[in-house]
Amino acid sequence: MNIDNKIESRKPPVATTGFIGWLRINLFSNWFNTIVTLLVAYFLYQIIPWFLDWAIFSADFIYNYKGERIIDRSFCSRVANPEEYHAACWSIIIVRFYQFIYGFYPVEQVWRVNVTYFLLAIALIPLLVEQLPYRKHLIKFTIIFPIIAFILLYGGFGFEIVPTNKWGGLLVTLVLGVFGIALAFPLGIILALGRRSKLPVISMVCTLFIEFIRGVPLITLLFFGMVMLPLFLPEGINMDGLVRVLVAVTLFQAAYMAEVIRGGLQAIPQGQYEAAQSVGLSYWQMNRKIILPQAIRITIPSIVNTSIGLFKDTTLVIIIGLLDLLGIGRGALADATWMGLSNEVYVFVALVFFIFTFGMSRYSLYLENKLKTGINMGAD
């Protein structure tokens, strides 16, 4: 055998590898698939360019088709010249952008809101990045962040007080979402532990509370908070509107969170409890040091999913009159100078929500993948 004459192995046929091969397998593998691919491609071809044209390419942003600056709806191309122009008029968002982000917060104090947004980003970093120097210290900051945010946004301690009926837009949405999740999480842990308690009274109270809250719609709880809570409080104590809503939303979310955490607690093997008790740990020490860290690690993806639901549920406050992002949008539509541009406003609000929630769900997928390799090491 002559090993100097190596024959090059032939490449596989063109139609089975690379891009063309991928096309054959995934899109055109048989007659049915081919027809379906063509139908779907046609359908997408009709919709996507039309939408992109409406939203971006032909749309007015600041100047209309005549080159004038748009200051109210009559300047928009599709209002001034409806036969020829049909694209979106985003000026309603751009002109009212301050309201969408801050609501009616006084302009000279808005630096406080900006600082809060910035600190929120910093407070989220230890949750997202694993290998971080000084992670332990940053987590302490994350825990006291809600208090700092409250002082910055509301007032006191030397800052001028800005009443909550001036807050609006994305500020309200984020406040309800972040505070809701931050408060519902510890409350949910306590409810879950209470439900699994061996003391029958505590277990029954927690179970009744959770099942009741999970059986009623959030709107009824919001009405309850707005209308009934003032009746429960004695004269003179007025609970702020936003606080009442926050209480209702937190209680609602805590019940769902409790169920998720209960699932995690059930997954911990009995041996962990027994080993902890045999070492002499008390109930609270056992939970704090052994059980809860494991349970929460297992259920983090479900907790993030529940938080995504909470974030979307914050829009329900428009029903009781609070102005969150969607509320400001509807308010802008009711204004005579910008009436009728409902499509633009709703698409914008939907896009903002989509960005936030899609980001959170990507994070949850990332966590799931990371934890899967961690938990199942050796278990399969």
């Binding site: 709107i219 009824t220 009746l231 829009t315």
Partner: protein, 385 residues
Amino acid sequence: MQKNLFSDEKSRGILYQTLVVGFFALAIYFIVNTTAYNLEKRNIATGFGFLNNPAGFDISFSPFLDYKSTDTHLKVYFVGVLNTLLVSFTGCIAATILGFIVGIIRLSSNWLLSRTAYVYVEFTRNVPLILQIILWYAILIQLPRIKQAPQIWDTFYISNRGLYGPRPIYEDGFFIVSIFILLSFFIAFFVRRWAKKRQDNTGQQFPTFTTNLGIIILLPLLIFFIMGSPMTLEYPVLKGFNFKGGMVIRPEFIAMFLALTIYTGAFISETVRSGILSVTKGQREASGALGLKQNWIMRLIIIPQALRVIVPPLTSQYLNLTKNSSLGIAVGYADLVHGFGGISLNQTGQAIECMAITMATYLVISLTISFFMNIYNKSIQFKEK
């Protein structure tokens, strides 16, 4: 060691529970007192007597009960419950069908198809439901006005005030026909039982599906013609600014139905997908080795096993849909929260009674749905021999 209340675990437990009970008793006493004082101060009545008082407002959508503004609040309640049940029931059925179809599509081998379905699911799941309801309603009221309403098949009109169609008018003989419709379902059920037994005993297959389809459609149709066609259609006719006659489906209902179906369908499709993926690959390979067709593999092997995983999250999706139907208040759909919990509450001022009744109703509906779905869940579990 000192023996006091804290040293023994059992006595500690009793102490804690007594403290909790005492705390709640005090809190309830305090709340009841303050509430009674506040109610009296604001001249708000208590008690359920208001249910017999006339309501004094109109309800825009009442397909089952005839409602006039002089009817009582109790009737407002019943109209609200029926409307809620209507949109929840139709929404659940449509969402299940949509969810199963999209879930199976997501697992298709066609990349373009599964990716498009993925985009649909991600978009619908991430935008709040109330925004979707408002969006659909905004689209529906941009439809042409009644005078320019387009016609479909010469009978239906789509306009911004709703979908107008023919209304069936039932005459006397129709009662017999409806009895036969029910009867045909029973016959179909027994045919299926008999066919299954025969297949177990002799191995011979029976075309059950086509036979049952024939029975359900043809038998009532036969009786219908024998009885002399006791049903006429009243067509909507354009008179002036409105249609006279016919039946209308309001845009509020259509918007709620579409938004609820599409939103919940996306969640159900994810549940179905994870259920089908949970069936081990070996099942599919074994059934392929036995020579079963693709369709049969899905229907006889994969889906029954996947149902074990699908049904509990499916139950919670049904409950979510029912509770989400309360969002109809955003577009004016006359459901329970809008009518009884909203307008009645504002008019009579008796917030506690109205809210309590509304919440209790939702609890009862949720518990009923959970109860029936749990029965179904138990029936599809594997019976260990």
